[in-house]
Amino acid sequence: MTPSTSWYVTHVFQTYFALTRDQAEVKMREVHEQGRAVMSTGGRERMEVDVQAMHGYGLWATLQRSGE
C-alpha cells in the first residue's frame, strides 16, 4: 500500500509478529509487490486480535477463511 513507508511496515511486522528484520522485510516486499501477504493464521478470535492491531497501526488487514 502506497501510503505506508516501507520502514514503518517492516518495523511494525518485526515488532508485532516477533519476526527477524529479514523476515519482516520479505513480508513487507510481498505486501508492496503483490498487494497482500498472509501474516497470521489461526482461530477466528486470535485473528481478530491481529487484524485489530494492524488497523491500530494504520495498516489494512482483513480476515479470510482458510482455503479461500
Binding site: 502506497t2 501510503p3 505506508s4 513507508t5 520502514w7 514503518y8 517492516t10 518495523h11 511494525v12 515488532t15 528484520r21 481478530e48 487484524v51 485489530q52 488497523h55 491500530g56 497501526y57 494504520g58 489494512w60 488487514a61 482483513t62 480476515l63 479470510q64
Partner: protein
C-alpha cells in the same frame, strides 16, 4: 485557503494558539472520538483508510468486527494524535520524541498521511510519482518566478508538500528507531 481533511472545514491553524483555538482543538478531538456515531462502514474514503473494513466481501464479518473494535481503535488513534498535538504545541523550536513513544508517534503520523493520501487520491506508486512531478513543477515555477498557468491545483500542491514532509519525518523517525535497536542488539 481551506483544506477539507477530517471534519475540518478550515484547517489553517493560527500562528499562535490562544484559548479559543485550544477549545476548538478539544472539540475536534471530541468529534474524532465520535462514539455516538453509528458503527457502519464510513462513507468518507479518508475515514475508511483510517478505520478500514476487516473483510472485503463479507459484510456480516466486517460489520461485527467494526462494532467490536471501532470504539477502541478510535480511542487509541485519538489519544496518539492528541499526544502529538500537545507535544507540538509546547514552546520551543525542537520536537523531542522519546524512543518508547516513537512507534506511537510514527503510527499517528501514518493516520495523518492516510487522510492526506485519500484527499490526494493516491492509490498506486504511479499516483505518488505523478504528485511528486506536479510538486517539482510548481516548486520550479516558484523558484524562477514564472507566472504562466501550469495547470496545477495550488491546494493539491500544498497538501502534497505536507504529505512529503510527513513522509520524510516518519522515515527519519523510523531510521532512529531501527538503528537504535541494532545498537542495542550489539
Amino acid at each position: 485557503m481551506s483544506a477539507r481533511l477530517l471534519g475540518a472545514d478550515d484547517f489553517a491553524a493560527p500562528a499562535e494558539l490562544d484559548r479559543d483555538a485550544r477549545d476548538h482543538v478539544d472539540d475536534v478531538f471530541r468529534a474524532l472520538a465520535g462514539l455516538e456515531e453509528s458503527l457502519a462502514e464510513p462513507s468518507d474514503p479518508a475515514v475508511r483508510r483510517v478505520l478500514p473494513s476487516a473483510s472485503r466481501d463479507d459484510h456480516e464479518i466486517a460489520d461485527e468486527f467494526r462494532r467490536l473494535t471501532e470504539p477502541d481503535l478510535r480511542s487509541l488513534k485519538v489519544a496518539r494524535l492528541r499526544t502529538m498535538w500537545e507535544q507540538l504545541s509546547d514552546e520551543g523550536a525542537e520536537w523531542h520524541v522519546r524512543l518508547d513513544e516513537a512507534l506511537a508517534t510514527a503510527s499517528a503520523l501514518t493516520d495523518v498521511r492516510l487522510v492526506l493520501a485519500a484527499r490526494l487520491r493516491l492509490e498506486t506508486d504511479e499516483d505518488a510519482e505523478r504528485l511528486h512531478a506536479e510538486i517539482d513543477l510548481a516548486s520550479h515555477a516558484m523558484d524562477t518566478d514564472a507566472h504562466e498557468d501550469l495547470g496545477v491545483d495550488p491546494e493539491r500542491v500544498w497538501l502534497g508538500m505536507l504529505y512529503q514532509a510527513l513522509t520524510w519525518l516518519q522515515e527519519s523517525l523510523l531510521h532512529c528507531l531501527m538503528t537504535g535497536e541494532e545498537e542495542q542488539d550489539v
